[in-house]
Amino acid sequence: MTSPVLPFPAPAPAASGRTPVYALVGNPNCGKSTLFNALTGLKQKVGNYPGVTVEKKIGTVYSQHGQPMQVIDLPGAYSLAARSPDEAVTRDVLLGRRSDTAQPDRILCIVDATNLERNLYLVHQILDLGRPVILVLNMMDLATQAGLQIRVAKLEKELGIPVIPCEAAHGRGLIELKVAMSRPDLPLPRHRWDIPSPIAPAVSELQASLVENDRKAPLSARAEALLLLTDQDTIRVAGSTPLSGRTAEILRSWQKRWEGEGTDWAATLVSSRYDAITRLCADLVERDDRPSNASSTSDRIDGVVTHPMWGWLVLGGIMALLFLSIFTLAEYPMNWIDGHIASLADLVKESMSPGDLRDLITDGAIGGVGGVLVFLPQILILFFFIGLLESTGYMARAAFIMDRLMSRVGLNGKSFIPLLSSYACAIPGIMATRTIEDSKDRLVTILVAPLMSCSARLPVYLLMIAAIVPGDQVPILTKVGLMLLMYALGTFGAFGFAWLFKRTLLKGVPPLMIMELPPYRLPRLRDVVLQMVERGGLFLRRAGTIILGISIVLWFLSTYPKAPEGASSQEQMAHSFAGKAGRILEPAIKPLGFDWQIGIGIIASFAAREVFVSTMGVVFNAQSEDDEDTAPLRQALAAAKWPDGSRLFTPLTCLSLMVFYVFAMQCISTIAIVRRETNSWRWPLFQLAYMTGTAWLLSLVVFQGGRLLGF
C-alpha cells in the first residue's frame, strides 16, 4: 500500500527585493563547470567552505535586462545521500544546514541528456526540497547523435518546472536559460511520487520536529526527514549545523524500530524513485536503435587505452609526455621568474640604504618567496595537465588501469595520479587528492605523496652525485643508476608507508572502486585554463603567508647575531644562529656522516630542498657568478675536511645525504598545503616527524652499514 506524500505546489513567492540566489547542482561529468563558466564568465569568486577542503564557487549572472543573479556552483553529486565530503557539502547547502552559506532560493539542476535515467535520480531527490527548480538538459547535441529524442514539452508538463535544452559547450540555450532564471514567478515542482506508506508516519513526525525544533521550512524538512531516515551511514563535515536533540532522538527511535523489523527502507526508497523515473522516461525518450557514433568512438578508444598491452604503453606515453613538458616547458618561465626576482632584489638594494631592513626585504622576503614562486610554472603546468586528463575522461581510465596495483597497498586507482604528479611537485599532487572520496584513503595519499622524489630534490641529487663521482668523465651509467636508485627508494618508501598506514593508523574498509567512466570528450581549453588559474591562485594564497613567515625566520637565523665587521658571508653564517644550530645539531647528525656545516644546509633547506645547494655555496665559500656552474662548489666540497683532517664528503657521506633528502620533509610549501588540506596541524606535523625520522634512520643505516662494510 502506498500513499502520495508530497502535496501540490503553492505558488512560489516572487523573489523581489534582493538578488535571487541559485544553486547549480548536477552529477559529475554532466558539464556543470562548463555551464557555470559560460553563465558567469570571469565573474567568479573561488574560495573554500570553512572547515572542509571543498571548493566554494560563487558567480554572478546577468539577465537579458542586466539584472544580477547569484549562482553557487555546488560540487558534483550523484545523490543527496552523501558518500564524500564534496557530496556532503552539496547536501548541506541545499538543506540549509551550513551557517556559512544561506539556503539557496532556487535550484538550477543540470543533467546529461545522453544519460537521463541516472541523472534524474538526483533531480528526483531535489524536487522533494520544495524550492523552485529549473532543469537544464545539457549535451542535447550528443543525445541527438546517440539517437535519443527527448520530448522536452512533455517533461516540463510532467514535472511542472521549466526545462531548458542546452549545449553549454557551444553556448547554445544560454539565453533561454537566463530568461527562465530571471522569471519572478518560477513555479514549484509538481512532484508526486509514492513513498511506501509504512515510512509515512516516521517522515511526518520527523518533519514536524525539524520544523519546530530546527526551524526548517516545511517542504525542505520533509525532504530532510526522508534523507535522515534512509541514509544511516551519513558522513558529516565541519561547518554543518547538527540536529536538535529532540529531532535526533526521534530519528534514533525510528531507526531502532526498523532495525528490529529488518526491512531495508533505504533500498525500497531508491527502488521506488527509480520506478518513477523509469515510468517517466518511457514516455519521454524515443530511442532509435542505430549504433551511436559517440559511444562507439569512445569504445574504440577504450579498446586501445584499456587494452592489456597497449593500455600500458598509452599510459606510459602520456606520463612521459607530461614529465617531458613539465621539465622542458617550465624552464623558460622559471628562468624568467628567477631573473625578475633577482632584478627586483637588486632594485630594492639600489634604492634603499644598506642595513638589516634592506637585507630582510631582499634576502628574507623576496628571496624566500621567490624560491617558492620559481616552482609556480611547474605547478601550473601540472594543474593544466591534470585538468586536461580530467576533462577528456582519461583520468578515470588511468584510475581503472592502476586500481589493481594500488589495491596491493590498500589504496584505489584514484590515488595514482596524485602520487604520480608528486614526482614533479607534491603540491599539485596533494591538491589533486580531492577527487578521492574516502577520507582515509585521501589522507594516506597526502601523507605519502611527498616521498615521491620531486623536482626540487634534483639539484641536491645532482650535486651529491657529482661529489661522489668527481670529474666530468665519469661513466654516465653510474650517474643515471644512482639517480634511478633515489627515485626507486622514494617510490618504494611511499608505497611501503601507504601499506603501513592503511594497516595501522588509518585502518578502514577496503576502498571501493565505484566510478563512472564518462565517454571521451574534447577538452574545453577555457575551462581547463580557468581551473588551472584558480588552483594556482589558491596555492599562492594558502601557502603564501606561511612561506613568507618561515622565510623571514630562516633569514633571521642566518643573519643574527652579527659577526664582527668585515666578516665574509662564510664567517657570518658560521657565527649566526643557524651556524650555532648546526653545531648543536652535529651530535645528532654525526652518526649519519654529517658535520655542523652540512647541518646548516639541512636547516636552511627546510624552506625548500634546492636551497641546500646555494647554502653549501655560502658555507664553503664557493659561490660562482653563474648558478649553473657547480664546478667551484664541487671543488670546495672535495676539499672540505673534518677537524681531524679526514675528508668530509666521502662517497658514503654523499650517499647518506641523498638518502636523507629522499625521505626528509624539507618543504614548507608542502607543510602549508597539507595543513590547509587536512584542516589541522596534526597531520603535517605527523608527516614531518615520520618522514624526517625515517630519513635519519635510513641515513644512519647507510652510513654505519657502509662503514662496517669497509667503505
Partner: protein
C-alpha cells in the same frame, strides 16, 4: 527460473539481468543509487588490464566496480 551466477563470473561481452544483492553496506546503497537494481540489465564490457576492476554498462552509461563487490551481486545471464 534460469540459472544465476555472480556478476564476476559473467563472460566479457555478455548481458545479464540483476537479481539480488546483499542488503547491508554503504557500497550497495551507492550501487542502487547509481541505478543498479534488481531487474536492471547489465553488460560486462571489459575488465581492466590486470583483470580487476570490471567495467559494466548499465542504463546507458559505464561504471566500474571491483571483482570483490561483483562476487556478491547475483545475475541471471540473458539467453544468447
Amino acid at each position: 527460473m534460469a540459472a544465476t551466477i555472480p556478476l564476476s563470473a559473467l563472460p566479457v561481452g555478455r548481458t545479464a539481468v540483476l537479481r539480488s544483492y546483499p542488503t547491508a553496506g554503504a557500497a550497495f546503497l551507492r550501487f542502487r543509487e547509481m541505478g543498479l537494481l534488481p531487474g536492471t540489465t547489465v553488460t560486462l564490457v571489459r575488465t581492466a588490464p590486470l583483470g580487476d576492476p570490471l567495467e559494466i554498462q548499465v542504463r546507458g552509461y559505464r561504471l566500474t566496480l571491483r571483482r570483490s563487490e561483483a562476487e556478491a551481486i547475483v545475475v541471471e545471464p540473458a539467453a544468447s
